[in-house]
């Protein structure tokens, strides 16, 4: 009896000692983790604020933000993570995730902290689909974006159109664009009715919106088969290129690019993303508004995308724990609301997003999110280029849209097949 008691006491004491010890090594050493983001002023600023708040709540964790230009971001990641000089947490475009996972830059998010239910309950469906790879989750976003139709009220007025009534169907869009285009004495476009820029959001508009509206599907459900080489695809492409070649309401790289054109009031309408809101708000002379993307054949569609945050493969031990905490923090509801306020991008959490239904500008983009699709890219720049070239083939080389889209499908299918090889 005494021996059992003695044993229990010993174990109890030992447990106590262990508990004490554990508590002591907890807050002892500060951990520093790095966060990499591509350079976008408002996002850099908001992360700075979030870091300050996070550090206040977690005194033994220090976070360092480093930014790189969008153009060289992938190169930087590709040359640092494999040799161990990469960050702990990093941002990536959702379309880059397949590449990042396959190249081994990201580590799987632990199902304990990021379970399937966690995603299903707190994020839009297209988010949950896009951050998955091979059934595992690899990243979490703070904000999402969609497309809308931007229009310039002053130019509407000048063309005799009601500045409060934007076009709601593709037919109206084409008609309005013709009225809003101005030419000089030689017949050159000096004011584009509709900016046509495949290198901007144009390629996504064709891919996820127009093709569906003309009755087709861009890809198979798993994203591995190109399915837009169809009559629907050709018709969608034809509709797009007809605006350039037949109606002459704009052309790629007019006034340098669509953003410059719209900003300097040389383009009356544009299809662009919610990330443009903050920039245009800063131009007082610009009278603009946004509307849902025009409908066609009764079909509504939109393209959703998002920048997401993942944990780099090289993050381990105490740094990994800190990274998980930081990741949870910057994707929390409070962070999402701050992001909305400072950057103008919609919260990735549907509940929070729908609270904005009546906010000017933002509310319109929100409506688009409801029926939006994200694209599973394997090579975002390469696949974008396929569409840019496809449009160029039609407008610069007079190829029939059916031929151009057939070629594009072949090229893109090869890109996709090579990736999954």
């Amino acid at each position: 009896m005494k021996r059992v008691f003695g044993l229990v006491l010993a174990i109890g004491l030992a447990a106590g000692v262990f508990a004490e010890g554990a508590k002591e090594t907890g807050p002892a050493e500060p951990v520093t983790i790095t966060y990499w983001q591509y350079f976008f002023q408002t996002k850099v600023d908001v992360i700075d604020i979030l870091i300050q708040r996070f550090q206040a709540e977690n005194p033994n964790i220090k976070v360092e933000q480093v930014t790189f230009p969008y153009e060289t971001f992938n190169q930087k990641v590709a040359s640092s993570v494999p040799v161990g000089t990469g960050p702990d947490v990093l941002t990536l475009f959702c379309g880059w995730q397949p590449l990042y996972v396959k190249s081994g830059y990201l580590q799987e998010l632990s199902p304990k902290d990021f379970s399937p239910d966690y995603f299903r309950q707190n994020f839009f469906p297209f988010v949950e689909e896009s951050v998955k790879f091979d059934g595992k989750y690899y990243s979490v976003p703070t904000a999402v974006r969609s497309l809308s139709l931007f229009w310039n009220k002053k130019l509407f007025r000048e063309a005799g159109l009601d500045p409060e009534k934007p076009p709601t169907t593709l037919e109206e869009l084409a008609e309005y664009a013709k009225k809003l285009t101005k030419y000089d004495a030689q017949g050159n476009v000096v004011q584009a009715g509709l900016a046509m820029q495949p290198t901007g959001q144009g390629h996504s508009w064709i891919r996820e919106v127009l093709i569906r509206q003309f009755g087709g599907e861009p890809y198979s459900a798993d994203g591995r088969k190109v399915t837009y080489n169809s009559k629907a695809g050709a018709s969608a492409l034809q509709w797009y290129t007809d605006r350039i070649t037949k109606d002459k309401v704009g052309y790629p790289n007019f006034a340098t690019d669509d953003v410059t054109a719209f900003r300097t009031q040389k383009a009356a309408m544009n299809i662009d993303g919610s990330f443009r809101i903050a920039a245009y708000k800063a131009i007082p002379e610009l009278e603009w508004q946004v509307a849902e993307l025009p409908v066609y054949n009764g079909v509504k569609s939109n393209f959703a995308s998002f920048w997401t945050h993942g944990i780099s493969a090289g993050s381990k031990g105490a740094k990994l724990d800190a990274a998980v905490k930081f990741l949870k923090y910057i994707t929390s509801p409070q962070a999402q609301e701050l992001w909305l306020e400072k950057v103008g991008e919609l919260p990735a959490n549907p509940e929070l997003a729908y609270k904005q239904a009546n906010t000017p500008y933002v509310g319109t983009f929100l409506k688009g999110l409801g029926y939006a699709k994200a694209t599973i890219f394997v090579d975002e720049a390469g696949q974008r280029n396929v569409f840019v070239n496809m449009v160029d083939e039609v407008i610069l080389k007079n190829r029939a849209p059916a031929d151009a889209i057939a070629d594009a499908a072949k090229t893109e299918q090869k890109l996709i097949d090579d990736f999954w090889k």
Partner: protein
């Protein structure tokens, strides 16, 4: 006969002036555009209706502008590499000209042959090396390929060979060490050629684009040309700023050019008439 000559001269002047306009116009247009603000830059008028220095002020003083950093990077990199080129090219050129040792011809040919290896091929192994040695996105990474130049070696060898042997021998008899002789006698005598090499190397390095573009991953390590190429922001291309930026990136060189024109022209001529 004389009338023919005079007519020919007159035609020559006309043609040359037309060419000058063609050469100068882009600079004029750049300068004039750099004084227009975001609105005026897209207007048809040639001269700004309301000239402003806002673009320059933004590039130099705005807290979001990295131009001063890029300018400083360019100056530092160009100065450091030029210093190294001047020192080592002259040392190598002098040795090849004035010393007798086995393998001299082979070494010279080897170095000259490197002139034929295009940079486009070397940047790939350079980058790989830089990843391994952790030189990516560092100042040393930008500078290392340019620390010495084969053309400079050639030049220095040419000029060193004109130095009278007696001067060197006299100094040796005096008991001076070889390096001392190089520093105190050879270098001063090479002065004019060194000046030409300095200017050319500085200009060439300032204008370098491919390698600095590759090795820098972030704006902190951009040189001016790389910064200018990456300049388009979230609002598309801001041409008024780009024009001002282009002017700034040229200004030091034009200054150097005006001051040292003779040497520059001479350097160009030398490179062409080395036969």
């Amino acid at each position: 006969m004389l009338r023919d000559v005079r007519r020919n001269t007159w035609i020559a002047y006309t043609l040359l002036t037309l060419l000058s306009i063609f050469m100068i116009f882009p600079f004029f247009w750049m300068l004039v555009s750099s004084f227009k603000d975001a609105e005026q830059i897209f207007k048809a008028a040639i001269l700004p209706s309301n000239p402003t220095t806002a673009n320059y002020r933004f590039l130099f003083f705005d807290r979001h502008s990295k131009f001063p950093l890029w300018f400083a990077n360019s100056v530092m990199v160009a100065a450091a590499t030029t210093g190294s080129v001047v020192l080592f090219d002259s040392l190598l050129g002098y040795t090849l000209a004035k010393f007798v040792f086995p393998g001299k011809k082979l070494i010279f040919l080897l170095i000259m042959s490197t002139l034929m290896i295009p940079t486009e091929m070397l940047v790939i192994p350079w980058y790989s090396l830089s990843i391994t040695l952790k030189w990516v996105d560092s100042y040393w990474g930008i500078m290392f390929p340019g620390m010495m130049s084969a053309f400079g070696v050639f030049l220095m060898r040419q000029f060193s060979s004109t130095i009278p042997d007696e001067l060197i021998d006299a100094a040796r008899i005096d008991g001076q060490t070889e390096f001392r002789i190089f520093l105190t006698i050879i270098l001063p005598l090479l002065g004019s050629a060194l000046a030409t090499l300095t200017i050319f190397n500085f200009i060439g390095n300032w204008n370098a684009f491919l390698w600095p573009l590759i090795i820098a991953s972030g704006p902190a390590k951009f040189t001016l040309p790389v910064g200018l190429a990456n300049f388009s922001g979230e609002l598309g291309n801001e041409w008024h700023l780009i024009m001002a930026g282009a002017t700034i990136s040229m200004a030091p060189l034009i200054l150097v050019f005006l001051i040292f024109q003779r040497k520059i022209i001479r350097g160009i001529t030398l490179s062409g008439l080395k036969g």
